[in-house]
Symmetry: C2
Subunit: 386 residues, 2 copies
């Protein structure tokens, strides 16, 4: 792995990362394909057409559904999905803590029940690394606890200490797995995850601790779980400076276009979020003029594309009126077209961000982009951007 | 409209039909897009990629859902769907008789209740022509009664007589509508529909009667509604010779690959059926070796495409194992890939049929194709072809 910052603008970084599955140009938005498929009938062939660099799959979902062992036998996730570009897999931790009802956290790991059939599963750092190694993703995430928000200081301190011990075990296990002869991807990378709830001092101390572990990259986790945007930005302001500048940084599960613009300004390289695909499936589409709800009657006879000038497969061929009709009739095609547009919108924005950093005008670009979206909202032309 | 038979082989016809929206090469299988969308997230751009010549939309569904008036205001169905090739619309009759519960048939037309919200609707020949004129389809179908099967001889006689009177009204109305200055498609064609249940003599007499009306084409309706395949073939054997050879013939709502092969042998030009899209959404896919059920565990690790050598968007990129995973996980993408494959399979078979007729080896082609599919089924390799 080679990570090279090729330009900076304030705290914003523009980097070039070489992986076993090709180069990633950052800042980048990863497109979320939960069970090895983008929801909304979007295929990996489609992802290539809409400019996706990195696909993100969920370890927990693939483990409880089709099974990572089967995918390993098939030759790994890349072969399974027919995707030759980078894939990041999460650790499963977030789903273990958010989807399963009853669960028991011990030093060894977590015992929980599958949300599909209720059967008991144990997952700890070694299990998470083994599953991700079976999947053969480009980047594996460390197994951590994403603590509930709000939590007491005491809970967070204990949780973060355990997450650190788990990270050490993840690193040891990953090294072992990458050295085995029949491992799918022997160059699998490991990103550690910073936690600390909304306690700035715990966040910074934890960032210092994990920075010394020489990992391939560092994520800020446990955000976008109910805290305000201002709180999230404050935590990034204090935490990111304590993470290595010569390693990629990843803000997990974030977010709206505005969140991403602010995250980049604070030194973040990687983002992922279900918003563009989930909103798309509900007919909510992103544009430079804010978000449109295509169910709105005002689009009934509107022959314009979702966004005038957009080059996505939906905007190249179909009108707002037609897509509205499809959504109202419950036709899957309506969802597919909206999801394609939204992912294209995010991917295109990341390209604009990279160019703005290279040109040294990122703050200006960010303010203009935010103002444009906000003005449209204030004028009541569009819904408020979320 | 210009319809020219360019080759025959036995009763099989290979024709060339010029319409306001381009040429149709027959025999042709029309791809069904009920509410102006192919179910399974398939767009008109996709249809072009899989070799679709004619899209079929349902008058009843578009009338009760988005509304034909709105589509007319938009500029017609072609503009609405972004499809510049031929569209055939059915008359609404079939859905009026099959979907609506309570209905009242009078000489003027039928009063029934919308299956969406129960509101009362009246549809007769003039209403059906007006709706189809609003949609601006290439080919409109006459409003007829598709009588229940089985029905008494007396019921069928009365029904067929009324269908003939309705056909005369359709012809008059269509002529009037096509002459109005603001009609979407002034060259809209009208196909009449032969009825008669399973009574050969009524079928033949009705075919003789409507043949004299000099319509643009003739359909055989009221089949594939529960009668056996043998009965259907017998009715085609006696009815088709009573329809004009120099006009296109259309076997409505039919059918399986075997039904189509037998229909072509009996002089049919046009076919349509929901099987390929409906079966695709259930993971049942067509191949030259019979039909596969991709839910079958035998495909769990199968890295081959649905059909080896197939050039469809699903087979070019994805394995049986991956599509099976998608279907089992309930991911829309699984349905989309199966629907794309099935429609491609049908469209490709129609191309083979056209070439076989041109070469004068249609019967040989048909027998080989049927034997291939049947052998695979008998050997238990695949499910029985339906």
């Amino acid at each position: 792995m080679k990570y090279e910052v090729i330009a900076t603008d304030g705290k914003a970084k523009r980097a070039h990362m070489e992986t076993a599955h090709g180069v990633i140009e950052t800042p980048v938005f990863m497109n979320v394909g939960t069970v090895a498929a983008i929801k909304g009938a979007v295929s990996t062939d489609d992802l290539k057409e809409i400019g996706t660099q990195v696909e993100l799959s969920n370890t927990y979902h693939l483990h409880v559904r089709t099974g990572d062992k089967l995918i390993r036998e098939f030759g790994g996730l890349h072969k399974f999905m027919n995707w030759d570009r980078p894939i990041l897999t999460d650790s499963g931790g977030f789903q273990v803590f958010s989807l399963s009802g009853l669960r028991k956290i011990k030093e060894e790991g977590v015992t929980f029940h599958s949300h599909i059939d209720g059967h008991k599963i144990f997952m700890g750092p070694e299990e998470s690394m083994q599953i991700q190694s079976n999947l053969g993703s480009t980047i594996a995430m460390a197994f951590d606890e994403c603590a509930p928000n709000p939590s007491t200081r005491e809970y967070i301190e204990n949780s973060v200490d355990r997450t650190t011990r788990w990270l050490e075990r993840c690193k040891t296990e990953m090294k072992k797995l990458n050295s085995l002869p029949d491992t799918v991807n022997k160059e699998q990378l490991l990103f550690g995850i910073n936690q600390g709830g909304t306690f700035d001092d715990i966040r910074m101390k934890h960032a210092d601790t994990i920075s010394k572990m020489d990992l391939d990259g560092y994520a800020v986790g446990g955000l976008a779980v109910g805290e305000s945007h201002e709180e999230m930005y404050r935590i990034l302001d204090c935490t990111v400076p304590h993470l290595p500048k010569d390693k990629p940084t990843y803000l997990m599960g974030v977010g709206t276009p505005a969140n991403i613009l602010e995250g980049v300004a604070r030194g973040i390289d990687f983002f992922d979020c279900v918003y563009p695909s989930r909103n798309g499936r509900h007919g909510h589409v992103y544009t430079d003029e804010g978000k449109r709800n295509l169910f709105n009657k005002r689009y009934e006879l509107d022959s314009k594309p979702i966004e005038v000038g957009c080059g996505c497969p939906a905007c190249r061929s179909y009108s707002r009126a037609y897509i509205r009709h499809l959504l109202k009739a419950g036709e899957m095609l309506g969802m597919r077209l909206c999801v394609l547009h939204n992912l294209y919108f995010y991917n295109k924005m990341m390209g604009e961000i990279r160019i703005a950093i290279e040109k040294g005008c990122y703050m200006e670009y960010k303010e203009n982009k935010l103002a444009l979206m906000q003005t449209a909202s204030n004028e009541g032309k569009q819904e408020v951007l979320t």
